[in-house]
Subunit: 226 residues, 2 copies
């Protein structure tokens, strides 16, 4: 593949030391059997995962906010493999910034209207703090999405919306972007890595959540092909 495309892994690695929504660790990888516990030559190391479902680079499915909404396993490949549009708001996105309709309008003026079934990623630059969990968490102060911007995306008929922060809502004013986007049966992807490596348009993304029956959230392997 390397010859045909540039491949960008937009996934943060899951570890106990990353930033979590509430600031408290919620990911564990526990040793189950180790090589030394085995009989040669059949040596194995096995592990158990104990994790919140919505940690690291992850997806929120409609059921995360809406009873009866679709769960992770019901999202279709046509939604999960999408054309990707990256809206760079780094010049404005301080810890209090809410992404506004004007950010989308400015992007569309330069790159054309965002087409149906796309994944729109907001690159706020907050991902630069990923390796400093306390700073990334920042007591729930980080860039988010204003309800009016979420409404435009739904009007465009996007497949999903992504951001390089812990959440597209900080919770300070409730969770309007969650309610609008998930309420329209779209998905969210949070804690995105390497959004700066993508062009504003032209990349194809593979948004690959762990396929868990009945899950409202799940870790995602997010990969872009340029």
């Amino acid at each position: 593949m390397a010859a045909d495309f540039q491949i960008i892994d937009m996934t943060q690695a899951l570890s106990p030391n990353m930033a979590f929504w509430d600031g408290v660790g919620d990911f564990g990888l526990e040793l189950e059997t180790d090589y030394k516990d085995c009989t040669a030559p059949n040596l194995f190391r096995t592990q158990k995962i104990n994790s919140g479902a919505g940690v690291g680079t992850h997806m929120d499915a409609p059921a995360h906010c809406f009873e009866g909404g679709r769960t992770i396993d019901l999202l279709t490949m046509d939604e999960l493999i999408a054309d990707c549009f990256v809206v760079d708001v780094t010049s404005r996105a301080d810890e209090n910034y809410l992404i506004m309709p004007s950010d989308i309008e400015e992007f569309e003026k330069a790159h054309g209207q965002i087409p149906q079934s796309s994944l729109v990623i907001f690159y706020t630059g907050w991902s630069k703090f990923w390796s400093e969990p306390a700073k990334y968490h920042n007591n729930h102060k980080f860039p988010g999405l204003h309800s009016s911007a979420a409404e435009i995306l739904v009007k465009r008929g996007v497949a999903g919306v992504g951001i390089d922060t812990l959440s597209c809502d900080t919770g300070a004013n409730g969770f309007p972007a969650h309610r609008i986007i998930l309420g329209a049966d779209k998905y969210l992807v949070e804690n995105i890595a390497n959004a700066d490596k993508l062009p504003p348009k032209g990349a194809k993304v593979f948004v690959m959540p762990t396929k868990i029956k009945g899950a409202t959230e799940a870790p995602v392997r997010l990969v872009a092909l340029i």
Copy 2:
């Protein structure tokens, strides 16, 4: 994407009711917060994952068998996005069958030599029992891979090897295929779904493991583009 490619999801959904290596359930999705526990309008359902790392459609990294071997997070996109070759052994693969060099030779006679950096999937037909966990598990009797066939694949320089059974080794005669393939720094994918929907060659696969730092195994979202 739908217009350009046919997309096949080759992933079994994770649930507590699936077949597990040792026959004992090792996947749980636990309710953490439910809608009714929240204050309107901010309703959420959150969950916790308690799971063996090597359940469902999953990957074994070299570190699964070899101390100091690469873990899941260290596999590269060039290995994980690969040309896919599907060797159909359904006509011979009863519960005692071991895939032999002759199976690979016959495939190569028809379709040409398996090139470097491919994913080779053995379609045994055992996946038809997936929805009957006891039958799929079958007291560890299901088709596997003979050491001599594993050696040929390593000689071809494949990126990885997949199979539609619980494991490429049943354990009855140790785990020679694991040791040969992982020992050559390649990866394994087990419990593959929908291998019958792929052509013998010509599909591109995206083998997308949950990116867990230090994991020896991990769930995989496996998707093919035809």
